[in-house]
């Protein structure tokens, strides 16, 4: 633990000395974990998040609505390798940036003519985890230019704005205090390359949207609902901060 923390601190110090905060290279939340939590993530047989990936695999083959399954159009889940690296991304159909979860629901509505899953439902987080898992090891690479540029700017502004009774912006902790200790835990960059994650505090799987909602609650700010446009645009900004980081889904976090 101490050795790891020191390694993180040393690399961050080296970075801090040479470049402004914006150019700090991304570091996965994995590097801030206790070794036993890292080991839990690394072992697919022990990683609790794999249960959701497996459930996603079952749902993938299950006919819905008009009798079509994901598999009928896409083939095996493995065919989705690379897809998860790009979300949230601009949707021509929707005229806005959408999350992977919303893309799954769009497919359900249009291709399967089935009711959409609730944003925080076990089904949706499982399918999202399944698709993201296919890109494990690939670098995250969301687009922040072109039609996504204004969503990216709004996400960045949200990230940098103080809010809530505690008057804290995301950046106050996850940029300015990376490596400092919040009670007993080192503060990470808040990277989202492992989402959906199995979070030990929740004893459950959660999307980026769920994590954002949790953070807002922690600073006693107005809730930002999972799947709201602002939350999706904030997710775009968060993922862009980690562009280049390897996807870890399903990651295990505290």
């Amino acid at each position: 633990m101490k050795r790891l923390a020191l390694a993180v601190a040393a690399s961050l110090a080296a970075i801090a000395g040479s470049a402004p905060a914006q150019e700090t290279p991304p570091v996965s939340g994995y590097q801030f974990l206790l070794p036993e939590t890292q080991a839990l993530q690394d072992d697919d047989f022990a990683n609790p998040g794999m249960l959701w990936v497996e459930l996603g695999g079952k749902l993938w083959d299950e006919p819905a609505g008009n009798g079509t399954s994901c598999q009928n159009c896409h083939g095996a889940p493995e065919a989705m390798r690379g897809v998860g690296t790009r979300y949230p991304q601009w949707s021509q159909t929707e005229g806005r940036v959408i999350s992977l979860e919303q893309q799954v629901n769009q497919c359900r509505a249009e291709r399967q003519q089935a009711d959409p899953f609730g944003y925080s439902s076990q089904e949706l987080v499982s399918l999202s985890a399944l698709v993201m898992h296919q890109s494990r090891g690939l670098p995250m690479s969301v687009a922040t230019d072109g039609p996504a540029a204004s969503a990216y700017r709004r996400g960045k502004a949200y990230y940098e704005t103080r809010r809530g009774q505690l008057n804290l912006a995301c950046s106050n902790c996850h940029v300015d205090q990376v490596g400092s200790r919040l009670r007993g835990e080192p503060i990470s960059q808040g990277q989202v390359n492992g989402f959906p994650i199995y979070r030990q505090l929740w004893q459950d799987m959660g999307s980026v949207g769920r994590m954002i909602a949790w953070c807002n609650d922690a600073v006693r700010a107005e809730p930002l609902a999972e799947g709201s446009q602002m939350a999706v645009e904030l997710e775009l900004y968060l993922r862009s901060l980690g562009n280049g980081l390897a996807i870890e889904t399903p990651a295990v976090r505290r």
Partner: protein
């Protein structure tokens, strides 16, 4: 929304009058209660960022974002401690420390907490009493 702010100001005004005219928070201050408030996660939650002597946690389970509060009673006067807790922005506009006794300039506050600061004037006085005892 505007009306809400006026209401908030009214309460603040009443609280100020109260503290000037009818109640002296210093008279009722209680260091023991102050330590409890510092420990409570819904209130001060101080050791999330500071090392707090007497809080009952090992050093490595306490935060190091803010300075250690060891001996802080010898470094700062009660008035300085109070000012720092109520609104640290007065000393440093960029501070990460939440304003425990002020709602000035807050945005997007959840409705459960809107219109009131984290701590009352009396609660701040209790905490100041505990911190002043750290020498």
């Amino acid at each position: 929304m505007v009306r809400y702010h006026h209401l908030g100001n009214l309460w603040l005004t009443l609280a100020t009058i109260g503290s000037l005219g009818f109640a002296d928070p210093a008279a009722a201050q209680d260091a023991g209660r102050g330590l409890e408030l510092m420990r409570a996660s819904e209130k001060g939650n101080c050791s999330i960022c500071h090392l707090v002597p007497g809080i009952g946690l090992p050093d490595e389970a306490q935060g190091n974002i803010g300075p250690s509060l060891e001996g802080v009673g010898a470094r700062l006067t009660p008035a300085e401690l109070r000012a720092q807790i109520v609104d640290a922005r007065a000393m440093n506009p960029e501070t990460i420390m939440p304003p425990y006794g002020s709602i000035k300039g807050l945005a997007d506050v959840d409705k459960r907490y809107r219109g009131r600061p984290i701590l009352t004037a009396g609660e701040v006085a209790d905490i100041v009493a505990y911190l002043s005892s750290l020498r």
